[in-house]
């Protein structure tokens, strides 16, 4: 039987349990943050666009930002039975798709996203066990809740499992 594939959109997050998989397509400068508790096989995938909700004019959707999205997903996972001290994180994305000589801050948002996510995970005492960020190419990410494997697909940079 095929296990359920749950799609996570941009500025969105989903939590679930084994044997489902969580997938998010076509990340550029965005980051896909995967949380997993291997004992309960509960996990979550969050697709953030921006590092910091306090710097944005509109912050109605908490899942758009690293600082507001991460705690939200964490709480939903705990509600599903995950235990915070067992949760580990893997992240992917944060590319800079186009290179410009005079890259403004917004062009470097991928890098700033990655930095922000790492700092927030540290603050929350969540261990970051693998990351695949940067570069100038898109990524599709899939978290398999049966195993906790985080699969990264690209167009011409191959596939890898974190």
């Amino acid at each position: 039987m095929m296990s359920e594939l749950i799609r996570v959109g941009m500025a969105d997050y989903k939590v679930g349990r084994s044997p489902a998989s969580l997938i998010s397509y076509g990340l550029g400068s965005c980051i896909g943050i995967a949380f997993y508790d291997s004992s309960t096989k509960v996990g979550g995938l969050l697709h953030i666009m921006l590092p910091d909700s306090s710097q944005a004019r509109s912050n109605e959707n908490p899942a758009k930002f690293a600082d507001t999205g991460i705690p939200l997903m964490l709480n939903d996972m705990i509600a599903l039975g995950a235990v915070k001290t067992r949760i580990v994180a893997k992240i992917a994305g944060g590319a800079q798709m186009f290179k410009f000589a005079n890259a403004t801050d917004i062009m470097r948002v991928g890098e700033r996203n990655a930095e922000a996510v790492k700092a927030i995970l540290k603050d929350l005492n969540i261990k970051l066990i693998a990351s695949d960020t940067g570069g100038n190419y898109g990524r599709t990410v899939e978290l398999k809740l049966e195993t906790g494997v985080y699969r990264i697909k690209t167009i011409d940079k191959g596939e890898k499992e974190l």
Binding site: A11, Y25, G26, S29, L50, R57, S58, M97, F100, R139
Partner: protein, 205 residues
């Protein structure tokens, strides 16, 4: 607070559609001259949609596309993005290089350069029309190119919009070649403050 673009009047949306029409008409003519073929364009769509839905316009976030991206400088800054499904881009290269259809299977340095130049010409003619219409000086940056997933390429502009709200105003035109072999999408995405400048310049409230 809600997105300011959700409060645009019907007249304002009409004005934006007309701007898209004039600009895209100019671009379509330019493209048709380059490849010596008739190019049809659709009536521009002016749509306000949730950010996450924008990649669906070009076949979903994991569709493989070639994107030529330019920043627009001047009094109404913004971004221009020309997206071609991968196969359309290959066919366009075949035509430009005088090769048989189906020859191009990946992009080499020359092909990329040619596509960037096409993006440059299209954006230039689009912005010319827009400048003329609004009397605002608008200048394109040098183009940048990527062959990748639509979602990843679009994220460049969606992230900018994401700082201001959860919706995108997309002025979009589809180009079609006579034999249907080329489909391109041309997006003009004004920076948040620029929309008011453009609307004020054409005198629509």
């Amino acid at each position: 607070m809600t997105d300011e673009i959700l409060n645009l009047s019907a007249d304002q949306l009409d004005a934006l559609r007309e701007i898209g029409n004039v600009g895209a008409g100019n671009s379509a003519t330019a493209l048709s001259q380059i490849i010596s073929r008739k190019i049809d364009m659709t009536v521009p769509k002016v749509e306000i949609m949730p950010l996450g839905d924008v990649p669906d316009v070009v076949g979903g976030p994991d569709a493989m596309v070639v994107g030529v991206f330019l920043r627009v400088y001047g009094l109404a800054p913004g971004s221009v993005l020309f997206l071609l499904p991968r196969d359309s881009a290959f066919y366009l290269i075949d035509m430009l290089m005088g090769k048989e259809r189906g020859t191009t299977k990946n992009l080499d340095f020359m092909d990329e350069s040619a596509l960037m130049e096409i993006g440059n010409i299209l954006a230039g003619s689009y912005l010319n029309a827009l400048s003329h219409f609004t009397k605002l000086t608008l200048l394109p940056s040098i183009p940048a190119l990527a062959l990748d997933m639509a979602g990843a390429i679009l994220s460049v502009v969606l992230v900018q919009l994401g700082q201001m709200g959860d919706h995108a105003l997309v002025i979009e035109t589809e180009f079609l070649s006579e034999d249907d072999g080329i489909r391109g999408h041309f997006f003009l995405i004004p920076d948040p403050g620029s929309l008011n400048t453009i609307l004020a310049a054409v005198g629509v409230k």
